[in-house]
């Protein structure tokens, strides 16, 4: 008998009289000790499925049909109080966002202690305070938090993202559940930290004999943590099967597209971008940036965001700047854009130093930026046409010519002309990012800074946005400075890459060079942490020892 057996589950949401069918005949089975992944793109219904299992659907949702069995017992016929008692004891959930899952005013110990206290009450166990504390220490040790006493007494803000994610896992493991539901664990973390978390989850599942339901959009993560895969699309399970079968021989177009959209790290599908041989457009010579943090009644503190960086970006190049959070890559981009002055060193554009230009600001015809999150980079109260009009107006275009130019720009980014009248909330994420690219193009820049332009998008959308960027570059002769932490994407999209660690560039070269033969141990650690989808890629990734990995973990610094 399967541990969890969902048959033809139907769920609909009703908001203000409008009914949306979000799950259609979803069937899913998880056996004892099985690792199952539920994959699909944004809005495909993965999280709704897990919420239905946990009985945490929002008020306006209704289960309209189907059955859900937990160890043979129909969950939908079980009263809410008994289902409540299953939570945390029989099944536990690890959430996506490790910070917002904690209340900042309580210590970690208090969070864990409360959960344990109530779980004990529900299951009628009697345990003293000291016993509970000892149990919590045990669980914290289990998730490889070396110093449980200190973690116990810490406030959530005092821990790094990776440590918080570990605590969340500890929270889920507290009562030895039979099944763990992991909803995009590690997605909000850096690659190296994510890698650690996934390894930990895998180890725990093996040691404790847990069943795992992994919900994710990242197929590399699926390969690492699951044996059986369900693929969801628009509220339906379109395909399911053992991991290897799904990855190597997908039956549906949707699944095939999903797999093909993933940029390969190694192998025959990898693409090399042509290297530009032209003169440098932007040149950084020994550039440093120091921020001064002033404290009240304490000496101020110097933070070195960027240290002695020298770079050249030839015309027509796609230079990738890779690194994890806090490595200084965005600071470099802001200095190149002239949005921020350098503390030391010289930045020149076409041989003219930025500092010599009018108020040190770069000519907007030179550089524009595309932001990471299209949701916040477009003004929600302005239509697409109004947004695109701004750069045109200030580039002193004739009002009549503007309308035509807006149409032209929309066509350039493959959007129909009637989109001009739309507001951002009427567009999908990929469409919004296209508008943001059109806005950058409107100023006719020569350099475009791409600040993780696809990290908020689904893989298939990312693939098309990247194709658009490549096309624009060859047609308009643009130069890109591409900032990202996604190494597999950079492998295929960049003509040169530079790896940053703690404000310094530790390695640079063409992607082919860097990925085949790493000079710096950090580069090795970074590449080896990238989740990949084939055995070939896995085999060709650089091998890194546990020690080397630990050395560069951002999380262990905290």
């Amino acid at each position: 008998m399967a541990l969890l057996d969902i048959c033809d589950l139907n769920v609909a949401f009703t908001s203000y009289g409008q009914r949306t069918h979000v799950l259609r005949d979803v069937s899913l089975k998880i056996g004892e000790g099985q690792r199952v992944a539920l994959i699909g793109e944004t809005g495909s219904g993965k999280s709704v499925t897990s919420k239905a299992v946990l009985n945490t659907l929002p008020r306006n949702a209704a289960v309209e049909g189907g059955e859900m069995f937990w160890r043979g017992r129909d969950l939908l016929q079980t009263p809410d109080r008994q289902r409540e008692a299953l939570k945390g004891i029989e099944m536990s959930v690890v959430m996506q966002d490790p910070l917002s899952s904690f209340n900042p005013v309580f210590t970690i110990g208090r969070h864990l202690g409360d959960v344990l206290f109530w779980a004990d009450r529900r299951s009628g166990k009697r345990r003293g305070r000291a016993e509970r504390r000892a149990h919590i220490y045990d669980v914290l040790r289990k998730v490889q938090l070396a110093d449980p006493e200190r973690v116990f007494a810490s406030y959530p803000a005092e821990l790094s993202g990776g440590m918080r994610q570990r605590v969340l896992i500890a929270l889920a493991l507290m009562n030895r559940p039979a099944m763990l539901i992991a909803d995009e664990p590690g997605t909000a973390l850096d690659v190296t930290t994510q890698d650690e978390i996934l390894r930990l989850l895998n180890d725990l599942v093996a040691q404790e004999g847990l069943s795992l339901l992994m919900i994710t959009h990242n197929l590399g993560v699926v390969r690492m943590t699951a044996d059986y895969v369900y693929v969801m699309c628009k509220g339906e399970i379109v395909e399911h099967g053992p991991l290897r079968r799904i990855f190597e021989d997908p039956q549906t177009d949707y699944c095939r597209e999903l797999i093909e959209a993933i940029p390969p790290l190694y192998g025959a599908r990898v693409r090399n971008q042509p290297v530009s041989t032209e003169a440098p457009l932007v040149k950084l010579e020994g550039v440093s940036k120091t921020f001064t943090r002033r404290h009240f009644l304490r000496p101020s503190e110097q933070v070195h965001a960027v240290r002695n960086v020298s770079l050249e970006i030839p015309r027509g190049e796609i230079l990738g700047l890779a690194g994890e959070s806090g490595s200084g890559k965005t600071t470099v981009a802001r200095m190149v854009m002239g949005m921020m002055g350098a503390s030391e060193g010289r930045i020149s554009v076409d041989g003219v130093a930025l500092a010599d230009q009018r108020d040190g600001r770069i000519d907007r015809r030179l550089a524009q930026i595309v932001y990471q999150n299209p949701g916040t980079s477009l003004n929600p109260k302005r239509t697409v046409a109004q947004t695109l009009e701004v750069p045109l107006r200030f580039a002193s275009n004739e009002p009549k010519a503007r309308g035509r130019r807006i149409e032209e720009l929309l066509e350039r980014v493959d959007l129909p002309p009637h989109f001009a009248a739309r507001f951002p909330h009427e567009l999908s994420g990929g469409q919004k990012q296209r508008v943001a690219i059109a806005r950058a193009l409107a100023a006719e820049p020569r350099l475009i800074v791409l600040d993780e332009p696809t990290s908020a998008l689904d893989m298939s959308v990312q693939k098309r946005v990247i194709a658009l960027l490549e096309e624009l570059r060859s047609e308009l002769g643009l130069t890109y400075l591409f900032i990202s932490h996604d190494l597999s994407l950079m492998r295929n999209f960049c003509s040169h890459i530079a790896i940053m660690l703690r404000g310094e560039i530790v390695e640079r070269g063409t992607p082919a060079e860097v990925f085949e033969d790493q000079q710096h141990p950090y580069t090795r650690a970074l590449i080896s942490a990238v989740p990949v989808i084939t055995d070939e890629e896995e085999a060709r990734k650089p091998k890194v020892t546990q020690q080397e990995r630990q050395k560069f973990l951002v999380s262990s610094a905290a």
Binding site: G43, R364, K381, T387, F394, G429, R464
Partner: protein
């Protein structure tokens, strides 16, 4: 191609604006508030046609009917010179609404402009504006109004000025807070990089994102202005007799308590009704726009 993620959003998906309207419509309290506000405005606009004794709004004296209790002829009774109280309450809404329009018409644009500037420019502008706002907030409004009222002559316009002089501070604070967070958004930086002027950014990029908050706050404020205006005229600093005014009617009626209770009760109910109307509407708008004020 379009089978994955990037499909166009279908028209039946709710737009934010339609969502807001649906939220408002499904909120009975908000609808009640809107209806009450409309009724107050209607009374004020058409007072001469609605009031049973429109001539009583002026300097009418009819000693024959003075101090008569509520009856079929005078539903709310009459005052010390025999004027119909119901008619005067209906006319009283005119003064209350004029005061609201005057005060908020002055205070909201001034407060919003200062708040926007402080939130967007930061630095010294922010320091000076927030500093000045805080100083103004430290002045007790009633004392300020009493001072202005006793220095200048007692007119509706002066009362308006006295209230507006301090009222803008609340709007400045609120808009400052919202503008500061909006100014940190990527789209503001993108507009600046596109070469937009400060004026453009302030009025076209940031202000539209503050409109919801400003309108909710303004509606809620209307209630307080009515209350505050009534307080001032109760203290004798509002409009001059014989113009019908709810606050001064309460003050007049007070001398004849408790026997002639209707002289106080009905004008007070008028104040209560108008204040409640704007409060309910404001709460409804707050839920509709989903903002905090």
């Amino acid at each position: 191609m379009a089978s994955l993620g990037e499909t166009a959003i279908s028209p039946e998906i709710l737009t934010a604006r339609r969502m807001a309207w649906l939220r408002f419509r499904s909120n009975p309290v908000a609808l009640l508030g809107a209806f009450m506000v409309l009724s107050v405005v209607f009374c004020a606009l058409f007072a001469p046609f609605i009031a049973p004794y429109p001539e009583d709004a002026g300097n009418m004296i009819d000693f024959a009917t003075r101090h008569s209790a509520p009856s079929a002829e005078h539903w709310a009774g009459t005052d010390k010179v025999g004027r119909d109280i119901l008619s005067r309450v209906i006319f009283g809404f005119q003064v209350s609404l004029l005061l609201v329009v005057g005060v908020l018409g002055l205070a909201v644009p001034v407060g919003a402009a200062l708040g926007l500037a402080a939130g967007y420019f930061g630095g010294w502008t922010e320091f000076l504006i927030t500093g000045f706002t805080n100083v103004m907030l430290a002045i007790p409004p009633l004392v300020m109004a009493l001072a202005v009222g006793s220095v200048l002559s007692q007119t509706l316009v002066n009362a308006m000025f006295a209230i507006a002089l301090l009222w803008w501070t609340w709007h400045a604070r609120l808009v400052y807070r919202v503008a500061k967070s909006v100014a940190a958004e990527d789209f503001v930086e993108a507009a600046r990089l596109a070469g937009a002027s400060h004026m453009h950014i302030l009025l076209r990029e940031i202000l539209p994102n503050c409109v919801a908050v400003i309108s909710v706050k303004t509606t809620l404020d209307a209630a307080f202005v009515i209350l505050f205006g009534a307080t001032l005229s109760f203290l004798g600093l509002g409009v001059r007799p014989p113009t019908p005014d709810l606050g001064s009617m309460v003050a007049d009626g007070r001398q004849f308590l408790p026997e002639m209770w209707w002289g106080v009760l009905f004008p007070a109910l008028g104040i209560f009704y108008a204040t409640l109307a704007f409060n309910l509407l404001g709460d409804g708008l707050r839920d509709m726009f989903d903002v905090e004020v």
